[in-house]
Subunit: 330 residues, 2 copies
């Protein structure tokens, strides 16, 4: 199956679970995931996100001998957790926009946004509890992932933005925030096909590496991305003086550009400085370092699957998805 | 086993799961549930809440032929969900205190409080996933409970405090907010003992009725309770013009006191009016109505178990717990 088919498979089931909520919450969650309903979800097409995690679940199921339909419950669970964490993270980070529309907390208030995230987290477990391909450990795997997501986000929150954070701390943090969920997506895919138990860990590792790569690309887009494509305001990461990977790599390079960048960040980055700041990060070598690290992570991901025997056609699809993930512009 | 033994059984397991969180979150969750740790959890003894839900799980397990140890995983799950919802509800309702101490959001900020609730919700599923007595539907039952808790809280949020809400709407809402979780507590207890499957629904119904009774008592304490015992500021429900059961019943009585009460509420209840307002509610008959409704709910609860054969000693313990629940002063 092609990755482009994932939404066709996924969305009817997402709709059923979300509309089974009985209060205003169903409309709020529908708005967030881009389902047509009481609230406007334009711009259409992109309104529901990229479903990348679900696509990995589906392809990893196919890679291990299962079908897309087998993977559905796992794919749903992963998408629900992802959406729950987006809603809550947007409150915590004060991000006003998501997918080119007002974030849930901006549109419906913080209390409703907290609840919508809680409800989607519950639906993730519900989807998995109903899943007939769930292995013995599936619920435990999901719970463990939620715990690690929370730990990752907590490390991010507790970090003072102006004090020093090492690149290795940062990579560990994004492994928790982004890696483990893509790891779960791939693990549940392998679980769907009931392949050899030893493959579960390999596929999880594959996903974790790719999740880190995914976040590194996100960090790059947070500085150099086109707001019309990313759905995030221009230079939002820099404005918030967020020490994402390119900034940390640039500062660590310790060259003349690094020092100018440090001065600029200490002073605060105004709207007029955004372009200059991005240039300094690139000149210091931050952009190049992140590109190389992304490539290293992708290689490590494929190394995890070195001994997995896979249908060449499925492998091609998986290669395409991974390439998309690291070359995407949104 | 006596109900007083519940904490001895429960707390070591709660501690293990909470301290398995790897970030600042473990200390924050420990603070909330009253475990000694990095943050002060005085006043001691009451700091961890009443564990009423867990006690019901344990006694319902014993009532159906199981042991307290059999019930542990279910009891933990219920306590974790309860604590998660308290942390999130306190943010939504702006309640500054919980168990005589600053609420988590006041002490650690809203972002950390959102995360702590998420983490505890995840731990609830983790506890249930590890539970060797969990029936086939346990995870689904928990997920369904989370969904109904969210729906209940959402109905509460969406209700404009000054517009009309009928008593039947209100009772439905508290069934969602409080009833279903005590229903789950009792259901998981019956599940622990692997009694007849038909008993699961009976025990759930028992718990749902008692949950509503519990909330009605809470509503009474929110007006006439002693702050030193309840851990909530004096008259907090009245100050927020919250239309809890006694207020709704008083207004519905439509007598001279009801009309004076309506005027006072429309004007806003200042600190000096709290005593007078509470008097009006009682004179209008609000307090008496709630006491009668509480009694009706307790009777309906016992009716649900009419055909359940139960060890008389366990029944005595259960009777004591129910009596405590409706006569407690905190």
């Amino acid at each position: 199956m092609s990755v482009d088919d994932t939404p066709r498979l996924l969305i009817p089931e997402m709709r059923e679970l979300i509309y089974s909520l009985e209060s205003e919450l169903s409309a709020v969650c529908a708005y967030h995931v881009g389902l047509p309903g009481r609230y406007d979800v334009a711009p259409a097409g992109r309104g529901g996100g990229k479903h990348i995690r679900a696509s990995f679940t589906v392809l990893c199921a196919e890679a291990t001998g299962g079908s897309a339909a087998d993977a559905l419950g796992g794919a749903l669970a992963v998408e629900f957790v992802h959406n729950a964490s987006l809603i809550h993270d947007d409150i915590m980070d004060g991000d006003p926009e998501r997918r080119g529309r007002p974030a849930v907390w901006r549109r419906f208030g913080v209390p409703m946004a907290i609840l919508a995230g809680d409800a989607l987290l519950g639906l993730a477990f519900e989807a998995l509890a109903r899943w007939d391909r769930a292995g013995e450990t599936a619920i435990h795997d999901l719970a463990r992932t939620v715990r690690r997501l929370c730990d990752g986000q907590s490390s991010d929150l507790c970090h003072d933005v102006l004090s020093g954070r090492s690149m290795s701390d940062y990579l560990r943090m994004i492994e928790g925030k982004t890696g483990v969920l893509l790891g779960l997506a791939c693990r549940l895919g392998a679980m769907a096909s009931a392949g050899p138990p030893a493959w579960l860990d390999k596929f999880e590792q594959f996903g974790v590496h790719l999740g880190v790569a995914f976040q590194l690309v996100d960090d790059t887009l947070g500085i150099w991305g086109d707001p019309a494509l990313t759905g995030k305001p221009h230079g939002s990461d820099l404005r918030g003086r967020k020490k994402s990977a390119p900034v940390l790599a640039a500062l660590a390079a310790n060259n003349i550009h690094s020092r100018r960048l440090a001065e600029l960040l200490a002073r605060g980055v105004g709207d007029d400085d955004l372009g200059y700041c991005a240039e300094l990060i690139a000149s210091a070598g931050g952009r190049r370092w992140v590109r190389l690290e992304t490539r290293r992570r992708v290689e490590a991901a494929w190394d995890s699957l070195a001994r997995v025997d896979m249908d060449p056609m499925v492998r091609d699809e998986l290669v395409k998805l991974v390439d998309f993930l690291v070359t995407r512009e949104w």
